[in-house]
């Protein structure tokens, strides 16, 4: 009996070792041994890049409980002014996390000191130091916040703070009567783990002015080597922005 147990234990240990080695070899790595996230990836909510895309929104059913009285901080009624109802429509920044959820790809550029996430949407760029520095202090709150990263094993963890109050996601596409917002107390933690040619992407939303507790949702990003040519495209939003000052004008073609 004891002999059988020993054999079983050895077999289990060997299997685990082989599985771990296999897992470690499965993914591309940088010379420093860290998982390689370089490349062009579909955004977390993209369902099918060749067809109608997924919605860039969080699943409301999986959000945390809203604090009593904080509903008005989470949802704002439509005003008719695009600068408020849908700032991206007037080429204002999408911000984070909404820009990450939008269905245009991101390119990740990685060194041992930085992870750089370049969004095709508005060509927004998140430069995330990995050297252990703390969050910057004394800066004005911003649309994309202040991000720092570190490794937990093979998982890249990105911690972001110092956001200005802004639209949380693309909820307004599903309900034209209102939009969904985060507060200026937003704190996010992203967990990126490479699995083959996908990234398991978890984001934790910690917004203590709105929710009773942090909550997380999981997405998947897919590597697209076929998008290396032509790479990320330029995104000059002002090029054909017909919605300045919150109102749109008709095209020359229709005048």
């Amino acid at each position: 009996m004891q002999k059988r147990f020993v054999f079983s234990a050895i077999f289990a240990a060997l299997s685990l070792a082989i599985a771990m080695k296999s897992s470690a070899q499965d993914i591309s790595r940088l010379p420093d041994g860290k998982p390689d996230f370089s490349g062009i990836w579909s955004s977390p909510t993209t369902v099918n890049p060749k067809g109608p895309r997924g919605q860039g929104i969080f699943n409301a059913d999986k959000m945390g409980q809203v604090k009593p009285g904080a509903e008005s901080l989470l949802y704002e009624m439509r005003t008719g002014d695009a600068r408020h109802d849908e700032p991206r429509a007037v080429c204002m920044p999408s911000g984070f996390p909404s820009g990450m959820l939008y269905a245009l790809p991101v390119q990740i550029v990685q060194t041992s000191k930085y992870i750089v996430i370049v969004h095709e949407l508005q060509r927004a760029t998140r430069i995330i130091p990995l050297d252990g520095r703390p969050h910057r202090q004394g800066l004005e709150p911003s649309y994309y916040g202040d991000s720092i990263g570190h490794w937990e094993g093979d998982t890249l963890v990105i911690d972001s703070t110092n956001f200005k109050r802004w639209i949380l996601d693309d909820y307004h596409y599903t309900d034209p009567t209102k939009s969904r917002w985060h507060s200026d107390a937003l704190h996010t933690i992203e967990y990126l783990k490479r699995e083959g040619n996908t990234i398991s992407y978890r984001i934790t939303i910690d917004d203590p002015k709105i929710f009773t507790a942090p909550w997380s949702q999981d997405f998947k990003m897919t590597l697209h080597p076929d998008w290396d040519e032509p790479g990320l495209l330029e995104y000059a939003c002002e090029d054909n922005n017909r919605c300045a000052n919150g109102h749109c004008t008709e095209s020359e073609a229709q005048k």
Partner: protein, 129 residues
Amino acid sequence: MKRTLPAILFLGFGLFVMTKPILAHHSEAAEYDPTKPVKVTGTIKTVEWRNPHVWFYVDVKDENGKITTWGFSTSPPGMLLRRGITKDVFKIGAVVNVEGSRARDGSNNATGRKVTFADGRNVIAAPSE
């Protein structure tokens, strides 16, 4: 369908009220009414292959020969490109049938959901967010 080319086809409603679009052109749900489908056939007049959204314009001739230009908003160029849709697909003068949802403001703008060319090719062009 071919016998009607290159003309006509206003289906459903007969609104010809020309009012200026007053809201954002990005918002699929807020700016375009899915309960007001648009289906027109005409010729591509011009294409704005630019960010933040590609727009293309279709001249549609009614029974009296009057031409109305419809503007269709669609995805950003990058999104179309990754669906295999390049600028060359939208040739000026090409006859197309376009299905979409009309702008809530009653203008002759719409979100272009599906584009069918005279040779039967279908292109998914929308949504326009």
